[in-house]
């Protein structure tokens, strides 16, 4: 249990935001979260960001936020953990409060990607793998890892490309009701199945997009109706060839196990979930790793509609990374934004009477995972 509470949330529209700089997006989300929290005195700032340096040539994001928002002479830092940068930034904020050093912390995440070419972004994202190995030299890409995983999953289960497509379709349908989501055009199962290949068997709709966007939250030791019941983080294998079992991403399972233990609850107690569907395949692995469904049977839950908003375990009511969008450093914070809306009762795709929510944020090909459990109190 943590004695930390969420007081404010802010989020920009996700998508192609060519009129805004990375800094504009970051400041917009932070200002909204601070206003939502009632403009508290902030003791520290943590920013999740992955490719600001390589793609936008912009670092010192923490100091920029403190300076441009007039927060005073306070400690700030950027946190990098690939696609889990946001989740890890949140955890650092919580730990800062638990240590007794801070009362109130502003945590945000941002990424600006759409101005760069797909090849250059793919290259930059490859920094989230161990680039010194024979694996990188072989030409393995980040999506490629999940393609290899998917082909093996198909081989060992009854799952097919249609099950991946059903994940993508569900998340697209959820995004249609979320005005902040990147994709708001309906798609059909057929269109998803027949889209151009990125890395077989993953097609365009199976892969999260490049996105501009930012999200922010204000956390404090002072009480609010949204309690952060647990925070957990672990690291896992950084190379595909080192995976003991390719169909398991131990970082997800272990971060979930620790979070449940700290919260004193189990997967059956969770009402609504945001998980890291960087690829449709990843969502299926994650719902297994987090204990919502048995191992190698996540595809059946998808087939039965159990992860839809109307199902018994609603997953990615925001549209997920696949359709809400995936501005890398912002994703972990955007997940929490959606869950706070769910617990406040004013979310897109509101789950009736949601009380306990779980966010899982993944970095690399299983290199990092964070899990946060929130509760309405």
């Amino acid at each position: 249990m943590t004695e930390t509470y969420i007081h404010g949330i802010g989020m920009t529209k996700f998508g192609t935001l060519s009129e805004s700089s990375m800094k504009d997006l970051l400041l917009d989300a932070c200002a909204e979260a601070l206003k939502d929290a009632g403009r508290p005195k902030v003791d520290a700032v943590f920013i999740g960001n992955f490719m600001g340096g390589s793609i936008s040539n912009q670092e010192i994001l923490g100091a920029i936020v403190a300076n441009d928002l007039g927060l005073g002479y306070i400690p700030t830092a950027k946190v990098e953990g690939a696609c889990a940068s946001g989740g890890i930034a949140l955890r650092q904020g919580i730990l800062g409060i638990l240590s007794g050093e801070y009362d109130t912390v502003l945590v945000a995440g941002v990424e600006k990607m759409k101005h760069a070419s797909t090849a250059d972004v793919t290259q930059a994202i490859n920094a989230a793998m161990d680039t010194t190995t024979n694996e990188k030299s072989a030409g393995l890409t980040f999506p490629g890892f999940f393609g290899v995983l998917a082909n093996r999953y198909f081989n060992e289960t009854g799952a097919t490309k249609e099950h991946l497509a059903r994940v993508a379709l569900k998340n697209r349908e959820n995004a249609l009701n979320n005005p902040l989501a990147q994709f708001q055009k309906p798609a059909t199962l057929e269109e998803i199945m027949n889209a151009r290949m990125i890395t077989e068997p993953l097609g365009l709709f199976d892969c999260s997009p490049m996105t501009d966007g930012a999200a922010a939250i204000v956390i404090s030791r002072k009480k609010s109706p949204i309690h952060i019941r647990a925070t957990a983080q672990v690291s896992g294998p950084t190379k595909m060839q080192d995976a003991k079992n390719l169909l398991s991403i131990p970082a997800i399972g272990e971060s979930g196990r620790i979070a449940y233990e700290k919260a004193g609850i189990g997967p059956e107690d969770i009402d609504v979930v945001e998980i890291h569907d960087c690829f449709s395949m990843t969502e299926i692995i994650a719902i297994e790793e987090l204990g919502f469904f048995p191992r190698l049977e996540g595809w059946r839950a998808v087939e039965e509609g159990r992860t839809k908003v109307t199902g018994d375990k609603p997953v990615n009511t925001s549209g997920g990374l696949l359709s809400r969008g995936h501005p890398i450093g912002a994703t972990g914070i955007a997940q929490v934004y959606q869950l706070v809306r769910q617990l406040r009762g004013n979310a897109a795709n509101q789950v009736e009477n949601a009380k306990i929510a779980l966010a899982q944020n993944l970095g690399g090909t299983g290199s990092y995972s964070t899990v946060h459990i929130l509760e309405r109190v």
């Binding site: 797909t118 090849a119 250059d120 793919t122 290259q123 994202i125 490859n126 190995t133 024979n134 694996e135 030299s137 072989a138 030409g139 393995l140 890409t141 999506p143 490629g144 393609g147 290899v148 995983l149 998917a150 082909n151 093996r152 081989n155 151009r196 290949m197 990125i198 890395t199 077989e200 068997p201 993953l202 190379k239 595909m240 060839q241 080192d242 995976a243 390719l246």
Partner: protein, 99 residues
């Protein structure tokens, strides 16, 4: 293919310390490059440095003589279970071919 092992853990990558026992004594042994395709993907969208090779296959090979896997590139299409072996090493990459 060179394999590093300790406590029954075998790997093609050398580590500083054994994840099981914490020891730093790894047995090194040379095993056959041959193995079977555990899984694969055909990459159509590649990063800048591999763009001119695309589409190409990246495969995970289960080695015949060791309890570990190695990631490699193949030019021909494959299926899970195909028997493959090392053709050459090119810019640090293992290039495999079907036997």
């Amino acid at each position: 293919m060179k394999i590093y092992s300790c406590c029954g853990n075998e790997s093609v990558t050398k580590k500083y310390f054994c994840p099981e026992c914490g020891g730093s004594e790894f047995e090194e042994k040379e095993v056959s490059d041959s193995g079977t395709i555990y899984s694969f993907t055909k990459i159509h969208v590649a990063p800048t440095e591999f763009a001119e090779l695309a589409p190409y296959n990246v495969v995970l090979v289960d080695l015949d003589e060791a309890d570990c896997k190695v990631t490699a590139r193949m030019l021909n299409d494959v299926s899970i279970g195909d028997h493959v072996t090392l053709d050459r090493i090119e810019n640090g990459a293992y290039i495999y071919r079907t036997i």
